[in-house]
């Protein structure tokens, strides 16, 4: 079990950690969402790496190729990406409304405002 054997998944882990960290640690609502998408993209990397076959090509059947990478992860991740952006759009719309309602997009300030009434 060499290091390179899992290098992709290592990086995926690192990205996942970074993303999750931003989401939990940062108070800015926009930044949280950016972190969230990093968190999600790390999963894309995980899936796609798993689908890769050394010496394979993109799974578009054509003359002269016999080894193709696994198409299924690609399909799944296509879906995942789209779902991701949909979530992002909705989240940002919420952020805009929150900004209008509270005048800020910093978590702490929003909380402090909710304490008062």
């Amino acid at each position: 079990m060499t290091f390179t054997a899992h290098f992709n998944s290592w990086v995926a882990m690192a990205l996942l950690t970074v993303g999750l960290y931003i989401v939990i640690a940062r108070g800015n609502l926009v930044k949280k969402l950016v972190g969230l998408s990093i968190f999600q993209t790390s999963v894309y990397l995980l899936y796609i790496s798993a689908g890769k076959i050394i010496g394979g090509t993109a799974p578009i059947i054509a003359e002269g190729f016999r080894v193709y990478s696994n198409p299924l992860p690609h399909v799944l991740i296509l879906t995942a990406i789209v779902v991701g952006v949909a979530t992002l759009a909705l989240g940002l719309a919420l952020v805009v409304r929150i900004k209008e309602a509270y005048g800020t997009i910093e978590e702490d300030e929003i909380h402090s405002q909710d304490e008062e009434p």
């Binding site: 989401v23 968190f39 999600q40 999963v43 779902v83 949909a86 929150i98 929003i110 909710d114």
Partner: protein, 493 residues
């Protein structure tokens, strides 16, 4: 002919009805569509359950690609039961919704509101009925996104932050589920649950599978608001429009619990989940924590919706506790409490919606003396409260009965004691409502109120009556639940 396609129709009809609402754009038209579809779905669900009881598992290959290459819909007793619950609550909630939504949502938004509701329904139904691990994720997101939208429509600005918070936590949960599914796919090369169940034993003890179990557990726990991953729930329930709260409280978390059962017992299988890992112990600890901590928090809430939201988290503790016992009785308790708590909380939140017609926030101060002004509504709340306590002749008692038996069967007599003790906490917060509603003098704001219109009272009271009826005649609920439990423990291998 049509009977063969019921599994697909169960999900596709509401899914198709949603764009229809958007294109027609009429508020009333949208409501009528939602109404018709919801009841139709209840009928479909009923006939599906009947067929499963008659003929056993139904498999439906979407696109005629036989599984595991295509996506399969697989209906067994468990998800047929859940689908019936979801569609029943959906139908009642929508019948109730007109006045309440008129009151709480801007009229020009109604057609979109009902579209979002239909999508949420479709998402939950699809989630419950699918037999494909990745398809779970897709429909989970349909239901989640529509849920975020519906919550954000609440009148209080805190609805927005609640929705955002849920969006963040929900997405993390969904991503965890994707990771878990991915690891399973990695090890078996398939996404079909039934196929997974066949191929997992070969690689049962490899690390990825165990990691997958961990990720799925956490991810799903986020959706079902298992303490301490419940943080999104109280605000979401407290500030969403009444109709939405009622629908979510009765269905969303329940479907998530279904998902947990499905992955635990169908995909991984009881031996792995209950056997080699400390999972039951962890679940037990968290469940007990939820039961006591959350009930205690509920006691100190003044906002009634919030109080009941915390009580929901506590009740979820009972549900997961049943899983942790891993005994037939315990699982029966889990499955039956899915249904029982669903209808109880559904009725409670619908009735609170009746009160919300007259007041912006429902706090113990606002509802003083409301028992005289809105007798039917308030009495319904009392019945629901008694069911939360677990008083005999209510469904709550039935659930507790099986849960305690499960604990005793497992030899956990102290757990049995704790289950009963925790229901005493429910007495306290329920009685805070009762005393406020009946023994305080109504303020002038309350005095102005009138009893809610029948169009709202009837659906709410249907659930109240169900709460009482299924507390006496448990042949359907407990009967099915018992068969499900033995199915789950037997595994689908």
């Amino acid at each position: 002919m049509i009977a063969h396609h019921l599994p697909a129709l169960q999900v596709v009809v509401p899914l198709l009805a949603a764009p229809l609402c958007v294109m027609l754009r009429g508020a009333r038209a949208a409501w009528l569509i939602a109404l018709g579809v919801s009841w139709a779905m209840f009928i479909v669900a009923g006939s599906l359950l009947a067929r499963v009881l008659r003929e056993g598992v139904i498999s439906y290959a979407l696109g005629s690609w036989e599984p595991p290459w295509g996506i399969e819909y697989r209906v067994d007793l468990l998800n047929a039961f859940v689908v019936v619950l979801v569609s029943l609550v959906g139908a009642l909630v929508i019948s109730y919704s007109r006045e309440s939504v008129d009151h709480e949502v801007r009229r020009e938004q109604h057609y979109l509101f009902y579209a979002a509701y239909l999508l949420c329904l479709a998402g939950l139904l699809g989630l419950a009925i699918t037999g494909d691990a990745f398809n779970v994720f897709v429909f989970l997101e349909i239901s989640s996104l529509s849920t975020y939208v519906l919550i954000a429509l609440g009148r209080d600005r805190r609805a927005l932050t609640a929705s955002y918070q849920y969006l963040i936590m929900g997405t993390i949960g969904a991503t965890f589920i994707v990771i878990g599914v991915g690891l399973l796919y990695l090890m078996t090369g398939t996404l079909n649950m039934h196929d997974l169940a066949q191929r997992l034993p070969a690689v049962e003890h490899t690390r990825p599978v165990l990691a997958a179990l961990a990720f799925l557990t956490v991810g799903i726990s986020l959706k079902l608001a298992l303490f301490p991953l419940h943080l999104w729930l109280p605000n979401a329930y407290a500030f969403a429009p009444s109709v939405v709260t009622a629908f979510l409280a009765a269905t969303a978390t329940k479907v998530a619990v279904y998902l947990l059962l499905r992955f635990y017992f169908t995909v991984f299988g009881a031996p792995l989940v209950l056997g080699e890992m400390p999972l039951p112990e962890i679940l037990l600890a968290l469940s007990l924590a939820a039961m006591f901590a959350m009930s205690t928090v509920a006691i100190f809430q003044d906002d009634v919706k919030r109080m009941l939201a915390y009580s929901s988290v506590a009740q979820i503790g009972y549900i997961t506790l049943g899983v942790s016992t891993g005994t037939a009785a315990g699982l029966t308790g889990t499955v039956v409490h899915l249904f029982n708590h669903g209808i109880t909380k559904g009725s409670l939140f619908l009735l609170l919606g009746c009160m919300a017609m007259g007041m912006r926030r429902i706090t113990l101060q606002h509802i003083r003396g409301i028992g005289r002004i809105m007798p039917l509504t308030t009495f319904g709340v009392v019945v629901g409260g008694l069911s939360l306590i677990g008083v005999p002749l209510t469904v709550g008692f039935v659930s507790k009965w099986y849960l305690v038996l499960g604990a005793l069967e497992r030899g956990w007599w102290w757990v049995a004691v704790l289950i009963l003790a925790s229901s005493l906490l429910a007495v306290v917060y329920v009685w805070r409502i009762v005393e406020a509603a009946y023994f305080k003098a109504p303020g002038e704001q309350v005095a102005k109120l009138r009893e809610a219109p029948l169009s709202m009272l009837v659906p709410a009271w249907v659930l109240v009556v169900a709460t009482l009826y299924f507390g006496v005649d448990t042949r359907f609920t407990a009967g099915v639940a018992a068969r499900v439990a033995e199915l789950l423990l037997g595994g689908f291998r």
